[in-house]
Amino acid sequence: MIYDNQQISLTKEHWFAACSVEDAVINGGVCVKHGNEQIALFYFTRRNEWYATQNLCPHKKQMALSRGMLGSKNEEPKVACPFHKKTFSLVTGQCLSGDECDIKTYPVKVENGTVFIKVDTKEP
């Protein structure tokens, strides 16, 4: 168990069940719907790590990052947008190719075969 139930009820933050581990794509991403929000969920199988970011690529405002390609720069895990290959750190959300805006990241955890993502507010 990574979190403590008490704390959750105190803050507005909320873990929601996104999908099952089998639904995720090996070394790739899927798009998760949370209300009107689109979240890109990545299963970096090679590193055995999970990440989640906004699905919107800030470059041309395309809902595309979940279809992006995973990789690393030095040791930092990153995703490349399929449109123009701008890359973003999966850890910090920082844009790694120049001055483009950074993206939002979300904490992820896996419990009993289900993938949870932590968001700011409960489903609207």
């Binding site: 798009c31 395309q62 595309a64 279809r67 390609m69 995973l70 990789g71 001055d99």
Partner: protein
């Protein structure tokens, strides 16, 4: 030391960078900018219309100024200067004292006093805000006029075309275009070239008034003629922004510009002026490179060292897409002082003129229109007074086929040759970056020296110098893939084959390090596909494919995809046409006949792709691999079955060829065509391999290319029978697949091949390497392994699942996808609408 800079344009920003690099202690740097945006790349302003964003153009983000302790005050112009008290006061009322004041106020567009210039629809072309206003006006514009046929005017005219304004005119007062750079004959060719782009030129015309009530409706000229128009862009020259300098009593020139000496000092010893607002030796420089040099001089002097501005060369190259124009040195010098050679090709629209000294030893200047490839080299020869070849004509006539003299060119350059004039980087600086700082890529050199980071025109030369220096050092110039693999593509091909590796991860484990990236994943995936021709979307490899291969369709603006079924040779039955029509209607797809003789359906939601393909496959279609680095189309002309000139049945042969190589993965896409006779209606000589019928059989051409650098294919073998022709193509393609770098088309591959077409012919036709049998066998294996990947995909539920947009709501489509209607069909919604600034 308190330094205040007025103006945050290109030169003002560069000055900040240069001053910081001098590490002056106790520096307090304040910058006032009138525009609300941090300094941006004005030189590439027009690319804003071609999709670049404000962010792309911004030189340094606001964060950078903060991090370096610069107090940047945007949207707050300086309004008053008290030179006795040494203070400036801004529009917002802030008053600051300075030790040194720097004018970097640039210039404004010069607007001639024509009656009516204040009407709605009249613009200038200088800032991003100007461009936003033009953009907003464009949708209601049918005809646009640009006043001014100089460098900037022509750029503005091209921008009008890019905005979709079909009817664009350029008005020039002088009898020719670009009067300051090119001569009469060059102008004639340029006018013809512009006409091909749909830009009408009117020279020797003087505007009398602008017509219309509130909004512009037309223009009347001094000769009485009238031109109706909805938009006017004035680009008649620049006017230095010296109003503030004038008001505080600094000396300004009779026609404007803040007078400076060789130290960039104005008439006040604490005030400098740099960039386009400065008047040096009666000259205002309307280019960025001299401005950067002025910034360097001023920064150096503030740091306590000596440096002077020597004046600057005004050579220029126009960035218009589709028309090359350049001039260097003294383009006009003639008569007794110089000899001139002119090369003119009216048919291709090429004009080149070079002027050299009477003794034939020195290049003095010249003009290039239609083909400016030689510009960089000529400029260097001219500036460095390098020796000319015995026949100077060789300088402007393309070297003999396949032989490039670029490598030889850089060797002859002296060490102090200025390669990047924007950043003042010499040949020696670049050599040192290689030998001392260990730079081995152009990117590394850019970081280390800043060369090629300005206008970028010198990038090819920087690369040549780098490669040459590395070779001199005995370093192997290796095209390693990326940080994860220390091998070239060709080495990897052999290793993957030898070790029998079938997935990206196993290749990475065995041969690489780290986790891969967007460069090596698709490259390795393409190798694996070329080697084994297994299903490209199989589980462990799917996410290492470029997005188009991963979803077996080309991604489009907005995130929808296109669907292109194979139509071999361009032949299709009416029944199959009906199926395409039905599918397109059912899934609401935009349809278009492509340039490759087939039909593209655009705008499919990702989740509709399997459904669409299910219907197409049911009707006998298969994937057209329009998304893959694979064989695309084999175009055909109608041939001997109908055409009265046809020698053989080109359609049947095209179908045979297309079906043989369909789905073949290669370093880049491959295209082909078959023509039934020498009239060449299928354009086979522009293809990667092209086949033309002769009386006795087929002629085989290879390594042609359309695209941005068109190149004709070269004749490989003549009068072949159908089977031999296939055999040669097998060998040719397999040799290409095994030896080319990633994303290299056959034309570029051949251009880099030592020995050129003769070598290739020896390998393919005369089997000089003794590998012909092996090549043919390998190709046969790939041909035998072919399967339609869409068929495989729809039959596999695991793979089908991946085509849902939402993993947790598979039945829902992406609600952000939007379309507009357009000529009775749909189109993708624009993704780069102008954003409002201020």
């Amino acid at each position: 030391m308190k330094v205040v800079v007025i103006g945050n344009g290109m030169v003002g920003q560069k000055f900040c960078e240069k001053l910081l690099s001098k590490s002056i202690s106790n520096l307090q740097l304040t910058v006032f900018g009138e525009e609300t945006l941090a300094a941006y790349d004005r030189v590439h302003l027009s690319s804003y219309f071609a999709g670049k964003t404000v962010d792309d153009l911004t030189l340094q983000p606001v964060k950078w100024y903060e991090e370096n302790g610069i107090d940047l005050r945007l949207g707050d112009p300086v309004q008053d200067i008290d030179r006795d008290k040494k203070t400036v006061t801004s529009f917002d009322g802030l008053t600051l004292t300075y030790d040194y004041l720097i004018f970097a106020t640039g210039s404004a567009a010069f607007v001639p006093p024509i009656p009516g210039v204040d009407k709605h629809g009249v613009f200038v072309y200088r800032t991003i805000e100007d461009l936003n206003m033009i953009w907003r006006h464009a949708p209601v514009t049918k005809t646009a006029v640009v006043i001014g046929g100089g460098l900037l005017g022509l750029e503005a005219a091209k921008a009008c075309l890019d905005l979709g304004i079909k009817d664009t005119h350029v008005i020039e007062f002088a009898p020719r275009l670009m009067p300051r750079q090119i001569d009469e004959a060059g102008s004639e060719i340029l006018i013809q070239k512009l006409k091909d782009l749909n830009i009408t030129t009117h020279t020797g015309k003087n505007t009398a008034a602008i017509l219309g009530n509130e909004k512009i409706s037309g223009m009347i000229f001094t000769d009485g003629s009238i031109l109706s128009t909805d938009m006017l862009i004035i680009s008649a020259g620049i006017k230095p922004r010296d109003e503030l300098a004038r008001a505080c009593g600094l000396t300004v020139g009779p026609r404007g510009g803040i007078v400076v000496n060789d130290s960039m000092l104005t008439s006040d010893e604490n005030i400098y002026a740099i960039g386009e607002c400065a008047l040096h030796n009666s000259m205002v420089y309307g280019l960025v490179a001299p401005g950067y040099e002025m910034a360097e001089v001023t920064a150096t002097r503030l740091a306590g060292s000596e440096k002077e501005f020597p004046g600057f060369d005004m050579s220029t190259k126009l960035k218009l897409i589709g028309v090359d124009v350049a001039s260097f040195g003294d383009p006009f010098i003639a008569g007794e002082e110089a000899k001139t050679i002119v090369f003119r090709d009216n048919h291709q629209g090429i004009y080149k003129r070079i002027n050299f000294s009477n003794d034939g030893k020195e290049l003095l200047g010249g003009v290039l229109v239609g083909d400016a490839d030689a510009y960089n080299m000529l400029l260097q020869i001219c500036k460095n007074k390098m020796a000319l070849p015995p026949d100077p004509m060789d300088l402007i006539i393309k070297g003999k086929e396949g032989k490039s003299d670029a490598g030889a060119g850089v060797v002859a350059l002296p060490d102090d040759a200025l390669i990047c004039s924007c950043e003042g980087v010499t040949k020696l600086d670049i050599c040192n970056a290689v030998t001392e700082s260990g730079c081995e890529t152009v990117d590394a050199i850019k970081k280390c020296t800043k060369a090629a980071t300005g206008c970028g025109g010198c990038a090819p030369m920087v690369k040549d110098i780098m490669v040459h220096t590395m070779k001199q050092q005995g370093k192997m110039v290796r095209n390693v893939l990326c940080e994860h693999f220390d091998y070239s593509r060709q080495e990897l091909y052999d290793l993957i084959k030898m070790k029998d590796l079938h997935s990206f991860d196993t290749v990475l484990d065995e041969l690489g390090k780290g986790d891969g990236c967007e460069t090596c994943r698709p490259a390795i995936s393409s190798l694996i596909a070329s080697l084994w021709n297994e299903l490209i979307v199989k589980k462990e490899n799917a996410t290492s494919q470029d997005t188009n291969d991963r979803f077996l369709a080309n991604i489009q603006k907005g995130g929808t995809y296109s669907v292109v079924p194979r139509i071999p040779g361009g032949e299709i039955t009416p029944d199959k046409l009906l199926v395409i029509a039905q599918v397109a209607k059912k899934y609401n797809l935009y349809t278009k006949i492509t340039g490759g003789q087939r039909i593209d359906m655009f705008g499919a939601h990702v989740s509709d792709l399997p459904l669409i393909w299910e219907e197409l496959i049911e009707a006998g279609f298969e994937s057209g691999h329009a998304y893959g680095k694979a064989l695309r189309t084999v175009k055909s002309c109608v041939g001997s079955t109908w055409c009265r000139f046809g020698l053989h049945d080109s359609v049947s042969y095209a179908i045979r060829v297309e079906e043989r190589y369909r789905g073949l993965r290669a370093p880049h896409k491959i295209k082909s065509a078959v023509s039934g006779c020498i009239r060449e209606c299928a354009e086979a000589q522009s293809k990667d391999f092209g086949i033309i019928a002769t009386e006795k059989g087929w002629n085989l051409y290879v390594c042609g290319n359309g695209g941005s650098k068109p190149q004709h294919a070269l004749l490989l073998a003549t009068d072949l029978d159908s089977d031999t022709c296939i055999k040669y193509i097998d060998r040719f393609l397999m040799f290409y697949i095994k030896t080319a770098d990633p994303l290299t088309r056959t034309a570029t591959w051949l251009n880099k091949m030592e020995g050129g077409i003769d070598y290739l012919r020896n390998v393919v036709v005369h089997d000089s390497l003794g590998i012909a049998d092996e090549l043919e066998k390998e190709m046969q294996t790939l041909v035998d392994n072919y399967q339609c990947e869409w068929k495989a995909a729809i039959e596999n539920p695991e793979i089908r699942k991946r085509f849902n947009h939402f993993v947790n709501a598979p039945q829902e489509k992406d609600p952000t996808v939007q379309f507009d209607t357009f000529r009775g069909q749909k189109k993708a919604a624009e993704w780069n609408k102008p954003i409002a600034v201020s």
